[in-house]
């Protein structure tokens, strides 16, 4: 029995995942345009908030620049979930199951599409930040760290999307979960620093919400420079969520790809 090596399998599935993602402008373009549009509107609309005592910067654009990175990741979740659901609904997953495919290769291959989109988003947002803002305080190295963190965040949410798709087998379920992701973004330190959130319950929710730390890590690199604690918390939350989501998606794939 002939069987491709794991590396070859990962390679071809990764290529497929990247190609099919990039061939769907209806998925790629909104994930870039929508966050940038909101950034532009909010940076101008909420700039007066920088006059609040204790606001960390005098440019709301610099403060809000972290948001598109997380918003983009939410679109990645939708894209990954929709692609996986489409494979299940069309029977393509069964086709793959009939080949000597290793489950690990399928998982890693799917992730490649998520990471490709995440990379395009991250680089775009960094360049916009540099072009229209006051640059990245942590410099070029900081920009690279932002891209890396952004990829980890994309991975986390992408795996959540894939998990939902694998469990439900349905694109509609993925769409149904999408608003919950936005809730997670809204109920964070997205719009104001946590210490300036006046409403107690909101501040508590934002403090427990891992998305707050992801935003704050990116924000620290943009506004302040190198803040070890913020970076550690951001990477820990993103990385932890990514690990849990990958394990969950992997378990769901084991159930979905039931072969003897």
């Amino acid at each position: 029995m002939r069987r491709a090596t794991l590396l070859v399998q990962v390679g071809v599935l990764a290529r497929r995942s990247v190609v099919r993602t990039l061939r769907q402008p209806a998925m790629v373009v909104p994930s870039l345009v929508f966050p940038l549009m909101l950034l532009s509107i909010n940076a101008s609309g909420l700039d007066s908030a920088t006059k609040l005592p204790g606001f960390p910067t005098d440019s709301y654009f610099q403060f809000a620049l972290a948001i598109p990175f997380v918003q983009g990741a939410l679109f990645s979740a939708n894209s990954a979930g929709t692609n996986v659901a489409s494979d299940i609904e069309s029977g393509f997953l069964n086709r793959l199951a009939l080949t000597p495919l290793r489950r690990l290769a399928l998982m890693v291959g799917q992730l490649a599409g998520i990471l490709a989109l995440g990379l395009i988003q991250a680089v775009t947002f960094v360049l916009i930040g540099v072009a229209f803002g006051d640059g990245i305080a942590a410099g070029v190295d900081g920009a690279v760290v932002i891209v890396v963190l952004s990829l980890v965040i994309s991975l986390a949410f992408g795996c959540i999307g894939a998990f939902v798709a694998l469990r439900s087998g349905s694109g509609e379920a993925v769409q149904g979960v999408f608003p919950l992701f936005f809730a997670a973004l809204f109920l964070s330190s997205m719009a104001l620093p946590r210490d300036l959130i006046e409403t107690d319950w909101f501040r508590t929710v934002a403090t427990w919400n891992p998305v707050s730390y992801m935003l704050e890590a990116i924000r620290s690199l943009v506004i302040e420079g190198w803040d070890g604690e913020a970076l550690a918390l951001g990477f820990a939350c993103a990385g932890g969520l990514a690990l849990i989501a990958m394990l969950a998606a992997s378990a769901a794939l084991r159930t979905r790809l039931v072969r003897t």
């Binding site: 509107i41 909420l46 809204f186």
Partner: protein, 257 residues
């Protein structure tokens, strides 16, 4: 269904309203999104009312509520436009056009449905806002003014969406309905009063008719009516223009049926 305007409108409205209330996939998002906005921004941005120059007396919760009310009214109308598009895509609208003697009643029916959906959504959101500390200083007349303005906005949005749906007759027209509505809503003093806006958004808001509507609405809530006539004037003008737009859409759909 061969009767006049109102009997056709009632029949179309009933079907749409029934479909709305029996389908969680439609009801839930239409409630969730405005509530998210309200909760996130009234809760997360409440300190913004301490920015120097923030002069809205009724507090930030009420300030945000004014926007959320406008948003719910607008998207209540737009989502009815989605229903119209769905009906065309499924072929149901062709049956409507053949069966109904008075085609204007079809649009009238969708308008009644949009209004009913908006009343439901606004009621729920208002209840949540009151629990969250909404401070309404306006009197009964102010409130009549506020919700009348919301009704006009809802009708205008619905007519706009319907005009697009009837011309394109496909669910893929959704973004064409949503994006203009979104831009009109957000290129306005959403988070802070007009005077505290800066940059290009301030320029856009100064030309945006929705700015007048939003400020009038907030004035009603604060018991300090402001720019009432211009706000109603502009809202009614938009409604009249979109009514003609919808009428043109209806003619287009009739030709294609």
């Amino acid at each position: 269904m061969s009767g006049g305007f109102w009997s056709v409108a009632r029949a179309v409205a009933w079907r749409n309203i029934h479909s709305f209330f029996t389908n969680p996939a439609i009801v839930v998002p239409s409630l969730l999104f405005p509530m998210f906005f309200f909760t996130a921004f009234a809760g997360g941005l409440s300190r913004v009312d301490q920015v120097p120059g923030f002069d809205y007396q009724s507090g930030y919760t009420t300030f945000v509520y004014g926007f959320v009310l406008l948003q719910a009214s607008t998207f209540g109308g737009i989502f009815t436009g989605f229903s119209v598009a769905r009906d065309f895509e499924s072929g149901f609208s062709r049956r409507l056009l053949l069966a109904a003697r008075n085609h204007g009643g079809i649009v009238g029916g969708y308008w009644l449905a949009a209004l009913t959906r908006a009343i439901f959504t606004v009621s729920v959101i208002t209840t949540v806002a009151l629990i969250a500390g909404l401070d309404v200083n306006g009197n009964a007349i102010d409130l009549v003014g506020l919700y009348s303005l919301a009704v006009v906005v809802n009708a205008a949005a619905m007519l706009f969406g319907t005009g697009i749906a009837m011309r394109l007759r496909t669910m893929q027209a959704g973004p064409l309905m949503q994006v203009p509505a979104f831009l009109l809503l957000f290129l306005a003093p959403v988070w802070v009063p007009f005077d505290l806006l800066t940059g290009w958004v301030k320029g856009a808001a100064s030309f945006n008719p929705i700015t007048l509507v939003l400020e009038a609405g907030r004035g009603f809530l604060a018991g300090d009516p402001t720019k009432v006539l211009p706000a109603f004037g502009v809202a009614l003008l938009i409604a009249a223009v979109t009514a003609m737009w919808a009428r043109g859409g209806l003619r287009s759909a009739e030709r294609a049926a």
